[in-house]
Symmetry: C2
Subunit: 220 residues, 2 copies
Amino acid sequence: MNTILTQSPILKGLQPTEVENLLGKVPHQIRHFHKDDLLAVAGEEVKAAMILLEGKLQGEMVDFSGNSLKIEELLPPQMVAAGFLFGKNSRFPVNLSAMADGKMLIILKPNFTRLLSLDNRVLNNFLNIISDKAQFLSRKISFLNFKTIREKIAFFLLQHYKPGFRNISLKQNQQSLAEMFGVARPSLARTISELQREGILEWRRGEVEVKNAEALKNLL
Amino acid sequence: MNTILTQSPILKGLQPTEVENLLGKVPHQIRHFHKDDLLAVAGEEVKAAMILLEGKLQGEMVDFSGNSLKIEELLPPQMVAAGFLFGKNSRFPVNLSAMADGKMLIILKPNFTRLLSLDNRVLNNFLNIISDKAQFLSRKISFLNFKTIREKIAFFLLQHYKPGFRNISLKQNQQSLAEMFGVARPSLARTISELQREGILEWRRGEVEVKNAEALKNLL
DNA sequence: ACCAATTTGTAACAGCTGTTACACTTTCCC
DNA sequence: GGGAAAGTGTAACAGCTGTTACAAATTGGT
């Protein structure tokens, strides 16, 4: 486990023996979970620091109408809800559910606070993690600020576009992308069709070929 | 100045003499600004911690089409861009401009890092501040996730609604609210008109009277 | 009290998106 | 290999929002 943990952003830069040493001083536990388990509900208090060791989690917001907007996917060895452990209102902002079986390391808040004071590198790592979190959310807001689906597609593709490589491999299906964009799935499919008819791109399962990067940029 | 600073979230819990003592150990400067000054452009690197001492700032995102979305207003003695001082990509997420004359305290990043290590209370305050920041952005996202203007109005009003007090005082005009909602001003006005015709509320300059709170809740 | 600037109300129209429904294709699993 | 499940393409329609333009009301300053 310690070799996984040394790759974790929160324990980056520490030797396995140092990690072992630190964890020896701080009470912690392992929690196992299964696919589709609901690990936390939005609004629930965040009582512990959680580091994902195995599996895959997703956080999604659910509005009053029941629509869901997938905010992010979490892979090991990321920290879960790092930005919500401190602050005035330390509650989960999203429903947290498991997309695959796995396990995570749990350290209760008071113990985690002690961990931060025990090692300056860990503290610095944590500062970076929550700052990254804030920055991620900020980028998410500017993304949602795009009004049209065309703009969202263009921005998304240009983010993943490397000049010279016309193909962009997709790790998510259209349903998942639509949730991420905060739009309806058929609407996304329709806009993709239009962009194909206009010769701007070719959308196949699992990959997109950008046929006219200039036109794509002009959509923004 | 130190009496203002002791009320600042970052220096909360410290005595004025302690603040003076700390600032004596850490190089810093004061920057004055005027109304409508552009203090930072989105994408610019955040090189220093900034604490607003006087005046009023606003942060707004501008997309490629020139549409702007006001993200927040900052009042003294708040910290500016606290969540963007650390992390992989420490750059301003918004255009920062002055809504009124004022001044701020500036501490360059290396000096600020030293400040954090000099006092544990300051460190803990800072952790709370950036966590609050992340939480604020998260709430902003769930707000933007509301699809219709009716939903946004309902949610906004219910947030400020106190049972027993039918009137909600507005500190912003419709233009400003529309920017905050990420919608066009005439569209907001139209929806307000509809809600008035339906007898759900009465919108006057500076205040809103909720005439049917039940119906308002049902909009969500 | 007056004028200028700001804020708000309203209208018509075009454009985009959500909804719903269904056919089709691909993938997965027994 | 075959059937079920998941993913994708498409269509028609209603509904909501942005745009633009202008009138009316209010505010602020002189």
